[in-house]
């Protein structure tokens, strides 16, 4: 990691990666305000491409900051979810499709296929809904689905929506996941009560989020890493120190494991538990609706 950063410093990162100034991002978010001088559909393709690049920069930053652990964390989230054939699953704010693809891959795995044959008499159709407030992220996700070979898969449904006001019917989902996004929701209680509303009886709520570290020595190391190294990396790689400074601060402001568990319980869930990964850097909270 250190070697890579030194190489970046020496070569001047503009040759390796495009630098995005923070001011460009808000402009692209309101794509109607920009004009490339092309026809409308070409412009939307360009917007998708821009977002693809932005998304891959996000991905690269995710890999760098978490030393690729975020992939394992998402794997663990899906493994705790324990998807089954015929499931109706909702992944909220997962526009790029990371969690949804993992759920799909698990469903299509060999062992699950055997299970499917045994449950064939039930004829329930698997549906995985990916909900995101940002339609451009959904488009990026759709593109990635095609790249991964899920283009023909009719289980994936891409829906635009707000975590605080979901457009799904009451009691229609078997599972609900939200990965690294509940921190950014304005009213967390609303999102939790919406999650409770759309889940069926027996449905499970799972939330993967950066959380609080309390282990004595590790806490100091983690704090130093968060406040000194992450913003510097953000500056070097994505040219955006401010966003990553904000990221680190928002993690500290987010409720700790116990408080968040209390919030989930207050929304109506039972059997509220949390799983600390890497000593509390990441926590997976789960709740059962009955």
């Amino acid at each position: 990691m250190m070697m890579m950063m030194m190489a970046l410093l020496r070569s001047g990162s503009s040759k390796i990666l495009p630098r995005y100034q923070p001011s460009i991002l808000p402009r692209f978010l309101h794509s109607h305000a920009t004009s490339f001088g092309f026809k409308q559909d070409e412009k939307s393709k360009l917007v998708v491409n821009v977002f693809s690049t932005v998304a891959s920069t996000y991905d690269l930053m995710n890999d760098l900051i978490s030393t690729s652990l975020h992939r394992l964390w998402k794997d663990r989230l899906v493994s705790l979810l324990h998807p089954f054939a015929g499931m109706k699953h909702l992944d909220v704010a997962g526009g790029k499709g990371d969690v949804a693809f993992r759920v799909l891959e698990r469903m299509n795995s060999v062992s699950n296929k055997a299970l499917q044959e045994r449950l064939a008499d039930t004829e329930e159709v698997t549906k995985i809904f990916v909900c995101d407030i940002n339609p451009n992220m959904l488009n990026v996700g759709k593109k990635r689905a095609i790249e991964r070979g899920f283009g023909e898969d009719r289980s994936l449904h891409w829906v635009e929506g707000d975590a605080e006001a979901l457009s799904f019917a009451d009691g229609s989902m078997d599972g609900y996941t939200i990965a690294f996004r509940i921190r950014n929701v304005t009213h967390i209680e609303k999102a939790l009560s919406e999650a409770y509303r759309v889940l069926k009886r027996g449905g499970r709520f799972l939330c993967l989020e950066l959380s609080h570290v309390e282990l004595p020595v590790f806490k100091q190391i983690y704090d130093y890493y968060s406040f000194s190294i992450i913003p510097a990396m953000g500056e070097l790689v994505a040219g955006d120190r401010a966003s990553y400074q904000y990221l680190v601060e928002s993690i500290r402001r987010f409720p700790n494991q116990e408080t968040f568990a209390r919030m989930i319980f207050d929304a109506g869930f039972q059997k509220v538990e949390y799983d600390n990964l890497v000593g509390g850097v990441v926590a997976i909270h789960s709740g059962l609706k009955l």
Binding site: F84, D174, G203, E214, E273, N276, G279, L288, L290
Partner: protein
């Protein structure tokens, strides 16, 4: 260690019944903390008071569980009851599908609950097997309490009848029982299954109302545990009608154990007598030797 006192018996029964409802929970849940709504809501502690240090385990104490069960109830049912309902419904699918998640998923559908609940069991198939074991133990206790004829039998017959009653409960699942045994033998599940068997054997000995005190408490449990396990394994390959051969096997093993006990006693007496006799003859011999 617990002696056969009424207090000890009630304690064991208490553990059994609380675990019956909460049996899907392992007492060895590592690195997972369960939120306790009964904990003091005003203090935002990092951990509830009952938990040990973060480096070790975040397992829930059994009394903490019971505490949560009594205070964490909502207007509807508690999740432990729902989980028990799902497992009970799943048992009807076991003879066809084995002790598997498929059976649990179908059980959930029968119970009218989303199969997602299967994901909330910590050790899936083991939860089903443990539920069955707890259920059988409860049925056994009920049978013991309602059976009036037990006192009329001698000790070996009492033990034989009780063990047979318990083994008969496994008869409907006998085709899939090897799978259940292998699940119980897995390292993660071994402590719980061992504990369940120990409690069951203890319960049988209590019901047999043994008054003798010549052989040690541990030896009794170990011997009966061994007889139970061997009969259980014998039953797996027994194709006689009504498992007749297994019950013969069981009775013979129990008689052997009692005979062995008698034999050991007699051997002890014989050794004492021989030792005494030898000692006498040696004395006499030495006397005659040195008199000359």
């Amino acid at each position: 260690m617990l002696k056969s006192s009424p207090a000890a018996r009630r304690l064991l029964a208490g553990i059994v019944s609380s675990r019956r409802i909460g049996s899907p929970f392992s007492l060895l849940q590592l690195s997972t903390a369960a939120f306790d709504p009964a904990s003091n809501p005003s203090t935002h502690q990092d951990q509830p008071p009952a938990l040990p240090t973060p480096e070790t385990s975040r397992s829930r104490e059994n009394d903490g569980e019971a505490h949560r069960r009594s205070t964490g109830k909502r207007e509807g049912v508690s999740y432990q009851e729902e989980q028990a309902r799902v497992l009970r419904a799943a048992l009807s699918h076991v003879p066809r599908l084995g002790w598997s998640e498929t059976a649990m998923i179908l059980g959930a559908k029968d119970a009218g609950i989303s199969p997602s609940i299967v994901g909330s069991f910590p050790r899936k198939e083991a939860a089903l097997v443990e539920f069955f074991m707890d259920d059988c133990l409860q049925k056994l206790i009920d049978r013991i309490d309602s059976d009036m004829e037990l006192d009329k039998l001698i000790l070996s017959d009492r033990l034989s009848k009780l063990t047979r009653t318990r083994l008969e409960m496994q008869a409907p699942y006998i085709s899939k029982w090897p799978q259940a045994l292998s699940i119980q033998a897995q390292p993660a599940n071994l402590p719980t299954s061992f504990k369940q068997r120990a409690v069951m054997i203890d319960e049988i000995w209590h019901a047999a109302r043994d008054q003798g005190s010549d052989v040690d408490w541990y030896v009794k449990r170990t011997v009966l545990g061994g007889i139970y396990s061997t009969s259980e394994v014998y039953m797996l390959t027994d194709h006689s009608p009504g498992f007749r051969d297994t019950w013969n096997f069981l009775e013979h093993r129990i008689k052997d154990a009692f005979d062995l006990q008698k034999t050991i006693q007699e051997a002890t007496y014989l050794a004492e007598a021989v030792g005494a006799g030898l000692g006498n003859s040696m004395q006499g011999f030495m006397k005659r030797m040195f008199q000359k």
